[in-house]
């Protein structure tokens, strides 16, 4: 194939520089620290609590984004209403906004003396400085991933397919379950994985609203920064490695589910 050598060369060089080298450095750091040191770092209550918090809330936020992001994409593609274009453009805002700005804005809104925080605390529900706040920030930064991956797929589904289902006597619900959902599944899962990955690594928007109380609202990326500030590079690398391992396992699982679903629902 013409151009294979050149394009492969560029690809591998870029991948090495941008992806492989940093990950290699992280692994190297871990190797220097030793398996025993890594385990001793991770096995502390504070670290375990932070890892559990980060991954649990990232997963919950990605689940919410999966459902709401698909609905949002559906509305943007299928319905025509005033302000649709503005709403469509607004979906990308979490991409463009500096995450710290988003975090401060959410905190200002949801703090007990904020506009929405004042309302929720009246019913005894505190959002800022609790896991709810972290979850909210993660939903905010992850939403565009699902919507933007699913939107073009919905755009390609011809309305006649739904009409055909109806003429064959199937209810709307049956069509949704057996025609629409299988067609959206691969793209929705990709969006879910992207949203999850982004949430796991998210730092800026979370630390303002989280309150960062050790054992309760302290996320794993923050713990890494704390270790770095104390020149404790080994421990920072160890937590980084633990996150890398868990993320890798989660993304691999999602990929396997995708392969399985593609085999089960066939050519999409």
């Amino acid at each position: 194939m013409p151009g294979l050598g050149l394009s492969a060369g560029i690809t591998f060089a870029m991948l090495t520089l941008v992806v492989a080298l940093p990950i290699g450095a992280l692994l190297w750091q871990g190797a220097e620290f030793g398996a025993f040191g890594i385990w001793a770092t991770i096995n502390r209550d504070r670290v375990r609590a932070a890892l559990w918090l980060s991954f649990r809330l990232s997963f919950l936020a990605a689940c919410f984004n999966l459902v709401f992001g698909v609905i949002l994409a559906w509305v943007l593609v299928r319905y025509r209403f005033p302000g649709r274009r503005i709403l469509d453009a607004a979906v990308d805002l979490p991409f463009a906004l500096p995450t710290a700005v988003a975090g401060i804005a959410l905190t200002a809104l949801y703090a007990p003396n904020g506009v929405l925080g004042g309302l929720t605390s009246q019913i005894g529900w505190q959002v800022a400085y609790t896991p709810w706040g972290i979850w909210l920030a993660l939903v905010f930064v992850g939403l565009p991933f699902v919507t933007r991956t699913v939107q073009p797929v919905i755009d390609e589904i011809e309305p006649e397919v739904e009409e055909a289902s109806a003429t064959l006597g199937a209810s709307r619900w049956h069509a949704l379950r057996h025609v629409i959902a299988p067609m959206l599944m691969p793209a929705a899962l990709t969006g879910f994985a992207l949203s999850l990955a982004r949430a796991v690594g998210e730092y800026g928007s979370v630390i303002f609203i989280a309150g960062n109380i050790p054992l309760r609202t302290e996320i794993a990326p923050l713990l890494i920064v704390i270790q770095l500030e104390e020149y404790n590079y080994g421990a920072a690398g160890a937590i980084g490695l633990a996150m890398l391992a868990i993320s890798f396992t989660m993304l691999l699982t999602i990929n396997l589910i995708q392969i399985w679903s593609r085999r089960r629902i066939g050519h999409v």
Partner: protein
Amino acid sequence: MHIQIDEIAKDFGTTTALHPVSLSIPSGALVALLGPSGSGKTTLLRILGGLELRTSGRVMFNGQDATGLLVQERRAGFVFQSYALFRHMTVFENIAYGLRARPRANRPPKAEIERRVLRLLDLIQLPQIAARYPTQLSGGQRQRVALARALAIEPRMLLLDEPFGALDAKVRKELCQGLRNIHDETGLTTVFVTHDQEEGVELADLVVVMSMGRIEQIGKPADIRARPATAFVRDFIRA
């Protein structure tokens, strides 16, 4: 089934797609709605199938008012111009869809569904393709699968929107004959939409010529050819 169209009209916003039209389709007939694009023929077909709501008028099936029936309740086998096959399902699953979608109480047992699907594949003369996906079929094969899928629900009538529109001349000829045979075998009242006067005149028992949302002439193909009622019909049939 006898279909009676009574002063059916349809507006889309400020544009009128159909002026009040009336038409009686005898049970078991093969009828062509013939006209240029924008003549309202597809709108009329979609109103029959329940996919479009009429602005005024009535539709009667076997003398009973069917105007308010939902799409799902009409039991009209509908073949779309784009075929609208479910591309994530095999041919078998496509054809079985309507039967499997029925509520449990009147859903046929698994073996019966399989028997019916295989019989339909025989009817469309494609017994070997049950396990294939729509993307692996030719245009003519897709059209026949769409026809089989519509027939699987034991429809009371068959409605086809430009069924041969996207096919080349040779395949079109074969499929015309195929539709004729299936119509004669099942005895279903069949209405198809076409802009091709040759297709309409050759295939149908009764041709309805339409233009600008109005019916210009209703008659047997030979009569329409011999005695066009209006200048429009004469020009359109000659073209």
